[in-house]
Structure formats: structure tokens, C-alpha cells
Amino acid sequence: MTNDDPRNCPCDETAEYVSSLADGETIPPTFAQHIGACAACQTRLTDYLAMGAELRRVASLEVDAPLPALPIEKRRTTRSLWQKGLETMRIPKFAFALLILAVVALASSLTMVKVGAHSSGSVLMLNFTGPDGNPHQCFFDTTKKDYPCGFFGPMAATSVGFDFRTLARNGDDIQLGLRSAAYPIGSPEANHMGNALVDNLPEVRYSFEVGQVLKINVEGLGTLTIKGEWTDHVPTLITDAQAQLDPKPDQVRILSPLLLKDNQVIGDMAGGMTSDDDRSQAVWINYANVGRFLISSAPMKGAVQAYAQLNRVSFQIDGENYVLLTGAPVSRSEKIWVLYQPGFKLPNGPDNFITSVDLKQIAPEAVLPQNSLGK
């Protein structure tokens, strides 16, 4: 008999030691001797070694794929640039909480030059969509520090709040910070959605490459899909999903408003912009030491009728002439309404800001009967 004879070959007992041998282990002499003389065991050893080599070869093909973004939220609390930025934002936390249209930057169909994924473009256009597939946009001037973008509003039957900011840029690699919240519409949290809520949440950091898709799971919402593109500038009109030079019906759109009273400048909101989209809403402009102006395409109790022509709104209050100059046509209608509340100031809020609001929420006393507000 020879060792090749299965009847004389304790291969079953030896097989496990063949495995050990393939792993570089030493094995008892008896089994080592058997393997040296047993063709079946040597075939098994060859197979084991070949299997390992093939697995390593396959693995070698797979380790070069681009890495997805890694979420890293800060563990330590520091006073961030974002927090500093919030303190100087034109739109106060309180006002954000009131927003119905709550838009700082939304989708824009404006013509702009997309300069490609690999470019010297300095403005990052962040396209993001939730589970409902509706597109939204934020713009970041990466040449400026702490250039935040907020989005507050409904998304996929959920009230969401996002605070984006760009933390760093290295070529096409962007480090993005995101605070996010999502609650069912109608829930107590959803009713207070705004910076005051979102700002207290941890910031998660994501690294991604412009041109690549970043998918983020937002608790309570689902997948938020983000893709970045470089553009050559921040568009002028970032407040309207179908932004055109002509305002939409019933829309009041205010850009960078300068307020004159008897030909004297009494308020300047350079760079601020917002729009309301229907007659239940109003544009709220708050000027320091002047007060609050609510502007709507519908009459309001206590409001005066104003004359809107292209980029200027003229009105008269207590015999004094006011002109609001803006950066774009204000309204399709020549007749709009202005409610002035002198000395109005938000408790703990900034003096200068501009936003869009639901009139019923921020000034219910000014709401006229429903038939006046209907379209």
C-alpha cells in the first residue's frame, strides 16, 4: 500500500492541518509527513493557496473605487464661524420660525454659466432633492468665509430645515457642514421649524467632490441627494423657483430695498431679498429705528395703497412721501399695499432684516376677511 491509497490516507484527519499549513502555521510532524506523501492532500493545499491568491486578486480590483462622503459631526462644542455668522444674519432666528415660504435660496432657472466640475469657478451651486424629487438649490461663494445657506419648508410631506455651509475647499473637494431637522407637518416641532431649532442640532460634516452625488440619510425625511456644480456667480434672483424678470401673478418681490422718505434715505437693505407668492403672504422689511413695513398684493387692515412701477414703490403715509427702490420689478400689478408699523422691533431680534411671512401668523390684526384675501 502507498500513501496514495485512500484506505491508508487519513486525509479527513489531516485536512484541517492542510488549512493551517496554507495559513503559514506549523503543524504536528505526523500530519506534515502525511501531506508530503499524499497527492490528495497536496491538491487540497494547492487549491487552498490558489483560492487565497484569487480572493486577494479580486480584492485588489476593488479598493480603488471613490469613497463616499463620511459624516463627521463635531463632538466638541466651540463657537463656530457659523454661529458668528448667525449673529450677523439679516434674517433673524425668530423670523425664520415664522416663515411659511421660508426661503433663503431656492431653485432658480436663471441663466448662469456652469463652468464644469473641474474649474476655477468659485461659486458652488448645490442642487439637492428630497424623496419627493423636487429640486432645490443653494449657492456658496467659496471665496468668502462662512457663506451659509438655509432651507426651511415642506419637503415630501415633512417640514424640514437645513443649514448648509461650506467648511473648506480643496480644488473640487468640498467639506460641507449640515445641520438638519425633519418633522411631520403639523407636529409641534414642525410649527417651530427654523434656525432656532436647527441651530441647536449637531453639525455633520461631509466630504464630497463637486460633480459627484452625495446621498445623506436625514432622520424623519429619508434620503437627501446632493450634487454640486461650479458656477461663475451667485445668481441675482435666488428667491424664486421660476425666477424671471417679470414677477408672477400676485407675487411681491423685493430685492435690495432702499427706502426714501421725502427724498431722504431712511433705510437700506443692500443685498437682502425675498418674495411672497400669494395674497395671504406679505413681505416683511424691518429697518432699524424706522419700523416694520408689510407689503402685500392684497389689502391689509390699516395699510395704504401703494403704486408699484417697475422697481419702485411709491406711497404716502401721514402726508409724507415714501419711495421704496428695489433691484427688480416688484409686482405685476400697479396696486399693492403697504402697512407701516413705526418703531416695531423684534424682541432680541436684529434691527434689519427682510423675509416673507404668512400674514395671519405675524400680524393677524391686519388680515381682512377671507374674501379680501382670496385670489
Binding site: 485536512a15 484569487e54 480572493l55 476593488e62 479598493v63 463627521i72 459631526e73
Partner: protein, 175 residues
């Protein structure tokens, strides 16, 4: 390469830069491991993200005296993958690219056979053959005695060899 103790000290202290560098160095191999373990690249990405996120948020449990940081990382990922498998319903369809991707992209009959092993067998073989963990490290990762590592490795190799040579029916790859 990183010194495990120093790196862990930095990560525990909340050094995001150190953590990110470690992620970039270690994640490609971890993702390959998870991809073969789950048979699904999206699942592998999700599990990888969960693994690193868990470590970043709760940097506890690593003992440099017990093993390497890499071994500990793969051990956590393996548990995440095992949990993922438990969540899969038996009636769930196999991923679309299962196991064709291995054939089309790697042109490997063995890789195809590998995907037909049980998840535990795949994990063990991958950790040994690809990641090169020693028996002692595998014992820590799997929390089993070294003798068990030896016997399970043998069983996994035999299973793979059988499928590879077509000597055994497909197991389906589901636990």
C-alpha cells in the same frame, strides 16, 4: 500607516482630521470586505458609514493590548453586517448585481463561488486571506477560541472549494 495608540488617542480626543485620514486609509478595504459580505454595494456603503459613524460618536471599546485598530474596525463592521443579514427577509430578492458583478468585473469564477458561501464563512475567509489577520487576531475579532478559528477556516475553505469545483449545490448565500 498609523500608530494605533497615537491614532486612537487623537480620535478619542475628537481630532476630526486624524479620523478622516484614518477613514481614507482604511475604508477602501473595509468597503470591499462589506461588499463581499453583503453582496450589495449600497448596503456596504451604508454599513461602512454606520461603522465609522459609530466609532466616531462613541470612541470606546478599542484596547491596543488586545489587537490592532484595523482588526477592531473589521470586527465592528462584521457585526454590523451580521445584523444587516438578520434584517433581511428570506424572501428578499438577491441584489441585482448578485453575483454577476463578480463575474463581469473581476472575471473570477472563484469570486462567484465565494458569494455563494454563508456570510460567516465569507467574513472569516476574507479576513484571513485578504486582510491577513492572524489566528489570534481573528479570535479577538470573532470572540472565539483560536481552535475554533482554525476549524471554521477549514470548514469555510472546504465549502468554497466544493462550490468552486461544482461539487456542492449552491447554498444561496443567505443565512
Amino acid at each position: 500607516m498609523f500608530d494605533d495608540r497615537e491614532l486612537w488617542k487623537q480620535i478619542s480626543a475628537g481630532d476630526a482630521g486624524a479620523f478622516d485620514a484614518w477613514y481614507r486609509e482604511s475604508a477602501p478595504r473595509l468597503r470591499a470586505f462589506l461588499s463581499h459580505l453583503t453582496g450589495s454595494e449600497p448596503a456596504a456603503d451604508d454599513l461602512m458609514q454606520e461603522t465609522y459613524t459609530q466609532i466616531w460618536r462613541r470612541p470606546q471599546g478599542f484596547d491596543p493590548d488586545r489587537g490592532t485598530l484595523r482588526g477592531w474596525l473589521f470586527g465592528i463592521a462584521r457585526k454590523q453586517a451580521a445584523e444587516w443579514w438578520r434584517r433581511q427577509r428570506p424572501s428578499d430578492p438577491l441584489p441585482d448585481d448578485w453575483p454577476a458583478r463578480a463575474i463581469t468585473e473581476t472575471n473570477s469564477v472563484l469570486a462567484d463561488a465565494f458569494k455563494r458561501l454563508q456570510p460567516d464563512e465569507r467574513a472569516l475567509l476574507w479576513l484571513r486571506e485578504v486582510e491577513g489577520h492572524s489566528y489570534a487576531e481573528l479570535a479577538v475579532i470573532l470572540d472565539v477560541p483560536i481552535g475554533t478559528v482554525r476549524s471554521r477556516l477549514f470548514a469555510a475553505r472546504e465549502a468554497l472549494r466544493d462550490v468552486w469545483h461544482g461539487a456542492a449545490p449552491m447554498k444561496g448565500g443567505r443565512s
